[in-house]
Amino acid sequence: MREPNEIDFWRGFALVTIFVNHVPGLYFERFTYRNASLSDAAELFVLLAGWALRKLVDSTPKEGAAAGLVFRLAGRALDVYVAQLVITEIAIAILAASSILLDAPFLLDWHNASAVFHDPVRAHIGTVVLTHQLGYFNILPLYVVLMLGAPLIPSIHRAAPSALLPASLAIYAATLVLGVNLPTWPIEGTWFFNPLAWQAVFVLGYLAAGTDGFGGFVRRHRTSLRWLALPVVALGALAALARYSPDPIDLPEPTLFFMFDKTFLSPARLLHALALAVLLGGAFATIRRFLPPLTDYLALLGRNSLQVFCAASLLSLIGQILRFASGGTFAIDAVIVSVGVSILGAVAWASDSRERLRRASPKGQPPSSPAASS
């Protein structure tokens, strides 16, 4: 197993944060960083996904790699897609079972699930083509689209390294100017995370992970960038604490550029996420010196991010139902968080163990579960 490292640590941190943030009204939500920040764990998660993509690409041998890489990335996109369908179906079953057990038909409504029960013909199509997303289950669809586009990123980067960032930012800018987004169906609306906008943070993560170009620039100017990041993070904290949100009426067109919009990842949020990364990136070594169990635990989660993400999504939903049934007291909230984070650890540990077994098995004799390699 790879040693605890900075990326896995922050991914684990993002995963626990997402788990807590996805239980509305949970007491412990107030301790998550979005309360004092413009961007939240979603930006961090996607930035790190871009970073991980770069590591994957760089670890793929260069000779004749193009086809191999495309297959590898497409396989990864498929894994995420399958994970999304499986957790969506399990979430639907959890809601259905709870509605029977608690005699609470309104649970069938939660998080946009109702179309599955009331309009199953269209909702099933929508679920498979990702245009029907449950609330809080809308990050993986973004990730699927990003991974489907992922082969383009190293291709452009290899052919013309300096073209990747301008291309990504041009798509981002055009998306904000035009206000375009992918549609949802059968429920009329648009994606909560707009992939056309969010690809920017993914590509920036990809570039930042390299030692050349943008990544090289960041590394060379680390100290000055930190000084620049400090006021951005401080202003973001002030805005969030004051619950400030810009007024489109006072803003020039296109207003999305100046809002703090999450769906379109407005520049303020993007910049804030980058500033946070510059400021806190590297803190891992220090944190590990003082709190090695914490860093190792979060790194364990982050190392198995897809499995942990899926478990966390379902645990958030179970937590919501427990809060409904119990009335949402502090005690139940404490149970949800402590048991939930422990289960996430168990899931990651099981996934690690499976990987260890796979590696220990003699070459050419794959263990019983070939799917464990993702």
Binding site: D109, H118, P248, I249, D261
Partner: protein, 247 residues
Amino acid sequence: MTSTVCAGTFEPHVPALPLSPPCAAPDRDIAAPAALPNFTAALEKRKALRILAIGSSSTAGLGATSNGKSYPSRLESILERALKGIDIEVVNRGVSGEVAEITAERIRSEVAIDKPDLVLWQLGTNDALIRVPPDEFETEVRDLLRWLRDNKIDVVLVGMQYTTRLARDPSYAEIRARLQRIATEEKVLYVRRYDAMRFIAQAHAELRLMARDEFHLNDLGYQCMAEHVAHALVASLYVKTPRPAAE
């Protein structure tokens, strides 16, 4: 009604909208009129208006037999009939089971992209059921109301449905009380669905406004919801000084 009629190109004497017999309820159980200055001004200036109907399952129209029978669709035709010559488009952005915090995020996005002339925000039920602390709910709603006011967009709060089961739920009662208080203090129009539905349920025991799950409305329920919202809107069109909401 203590309303001041102002002159304009638009015919200001919109008669009070009659309610169909099954949906009849006293005005005090529907809404206390509150000023809608921006919507009224837009009505005087333009011939086409956009209304954003956003919220959860009651907006999406769950329990209705077709999309055309959801409350936003019905409202569109009722308003077009009442406000002759005005083209009204009611955009439906209901997402079932959504809490106010997420809807607020979507409202900000919708307003930034496509500034509507009026926002109908149906809310409360899911926050009560998912046990969002009432203080958090109140802060979230007030923040958005002030933001909308700063952006010169009128808003109507559309309250929670009456169901016999949830009538005894303390969180449900608390969130409903908060909505009433927020609406009174922020001086926004608040459609008291719960009271209107309870009145109908008690006045006509034989009428069914709910679908078989006893939670969603049926076609008649949505018809009444649309009528009540339309009635409250029209009654508020030329209100300059809102009278204190009756408790």
